[in-house]
């Protein structure tokens, strides 16, 4: 892990006004929504109105889009790698910087939402659901950061977002294909169709986990050890995407201001 790479990543984000505005909106939007909800429904006063942990994906996207690709586009990656930094260290630092920054932002937003709920209903202050949500957010941030680091290592600039959109499209297509096979008259009866449904389901579930790397921490705390499988999937996702990212970058030639 290289401290300088981490700090550079954070500084670069700070200099991007559009991302800062989007981060601010992401922080404020749920607060506005819950304020309206509290005004409309008195029952909401006794509920811990916190955004689902999935919102952490948006924070990770803001921090992680083009995390390596922009350096490739500007040509600064060749300058960075001219210093005594290995690609392994560079990739891990980028991943850690994105994951940590997104986690801090996501947790901070959660903290504010929870504090507002606790002001209206003090008994909610020690609700463990809040901490579970926080832990899930941190895990999602690091998971998504690993995936974005991989996408960003494939292409320059912000083209990784296009790859992400392509993956979403692929998921929609595969889900639709499974549904057609399942509900098409006689679709289930054929052996080939049955096999296609099984393989398609495994494939679609894999994509879902990549897009939403959530480990249900609450389940694990409650003693539901079946969810260890999702913890295993999470570890797989992190190691595989970081490995792929390193593998891809070690085989690339970097020239100054290539694009």
């Amino acid at each position: 892990m290289n401290r300088a790479v981490c700090i550079t990543t954070w500084r670069e984000f700070k200099s991007n006004k559009i991302r800062l505005i989007m981060l601010f909106l992401l922080f404020v939007a749920p607060l506005f929504q819950y304020t309206v909800q509290r005004c409309q429904s008195p029952e909401s006063m006794t509920q811990d109105l916190i955004t689902p942990s999935g919102v952490a994906i948006a924070y990770a996207l803001l921090w992680g889009a083009g995390v390596i690709g922009r350096e490739m586009q500007h040509g600064t990656i060749s300058l960075v790698l001219a210093r005594p930094i290995s690609i392994v260290s560079y990739v891990l630092s980028k991943w850690f910087a994105v994951g940590l920054a997104a986690s801090v932002c996501a947790f901070q937003a959660l903290l504010v939402e929870h504090l507002i709920s606790a002001v209206f209903c003090p008994s909610l202050a020690f609700d463990p659901e809040f901490l579970v949500n926080g832990a899930e957010r941190v895990l999602i941030c690091f998971g998504t950061a690993a995936f974005l680091t991989f996408l960003s290592s494939l292409v320059s600039g912000l083209k990784d977002l296009a790859l992400l959109a392509g993956l979403l499209f692929l998921h929609s297509i595969s889900s639709a294909a499974i549904q057609i096979l399942e509900y098409f008259p006689g679709g289930r009866s054929g052996n080939m169709a049955e096999q296609a449904i099984h393989i398609g389901t495994v494939f679609a579930q894999g994509i879902v986990f990549v897009l939403y790397p959530c480990v249900p921490v609450g389940y694990l705390i409650a003693g539901n050890y079946n969810e260890i499988i999702s913890l295993l999937s999470y570890a797989t996702m992190i190691t595989v995407f970081l490995s792929l990212s390193i593998f891809v970058l070690t085989r690339k030639e970097f020239s100054y201001a290539a694009e």
């Binding site: 909800q37 689902p52 389901t201 495994v202 079946n226 260890i228 295993l232 999937s233």
Partner: protein, 392 residues
Amino acid sequence: MQPSKSKNKGTRYQPVALYVVASLLFCTSVTIGISLEYDLPWINQVIALLPTPHLIHWRTRTEAWAECQKTKKPILYVVTGKKDSVSMLFEAQCMGDPKIAELIDSEFIPVHHTTDVRSRHPEKDEELKYYRDTLGMGYNSYPWVFVVPYSMHDLSANDLTSSANLVELGINSLDDLCSDNPFYPNANYYDGGYNYRQHYVNGRCSGQRGAAMSYGYTSKADFLDFLYGARIWHKLPPTLGRIKWMDIANLDVNTKGGKPKMLALVSDVGLNSDTMRMNLFWKKKSVELINKEFDPYLIEFHRLDPDYNKKFKALRDQYHVDTLPALIVLNPRTNGGTTQVEHGFNTMLYSVDFLNSTLHKKSSDKKVDAVHYRNGVRDETVPLGVGRDEND
């Protein structure tokens, strides 16, 4: 200056250890994913090894039916999904909690069924079929919990989820109950009733519950709340409304020149009787009409008390009542003194129309035994000699 003896790694060195770990994890995850999808036995054996506490003494449905007659405890049906994450959380947090297990064992006769939510042939699951067809369990509503009082295990879901007790329904405003708005009848069943709740997790709805049925899961506290309500479900008597009921002992006393007699035959349970109690016996319009124009008598049918039902059976046979609830009006001054019977209950306005019609004098009316109405319409299917004469 001596060069450092430490092993310098090049910029493009390959982290073999990381690759190996990633490959192993990937292979393991893919194997587990495929095994779960194909429901291979080995993965179920491994999952079974993982600790999951079972503290509740579960019974089968047949055992529960036999036992509930002896112990007079309600049956608690719990259906969970085998590969459903919410069901798994519910089982870990609630079924594995000693306090909840103790409450369930002491207050209910619990019946548990686990079904494969991703099964491509759910129709083969006979238990699930029973819950869906008879108890109205919805699709993909896991975990699903339903309480059935011991006296009602042979009734349908509509009757089981209905109540006419204001406390059980959680009604705290009589103004709403007496409101005359015909478009908002007083609801007495779970999904429109006053005890209807929606579960929310982090602001999103994750299930619904009434007093008798719950699906989805949010928290242990919410489930405990449901169990405490389910304990008393159908243990309290149904409402008598705001009607000034007369003493049934005076029913046979001939009040010459007095008000016509209105007999309301209602059951102590069941959706239709409950609907009549909640609407006709409470709405301002009907209550004022009945209290002003009639001498009202309430004749209740108690499912578990044959001795109590003697009077009811006599009246039912006398007036050929085949549906509950029913309204019978005995007005010697109008309609040639014909008895008028309304079978069943549709809406408060239908019944008010029926009651008003029994007050009108018709010069052409001929004396017959009884005239029958169903849903506000004259029932022509009642055989001659029962309520119609040949020229009617």
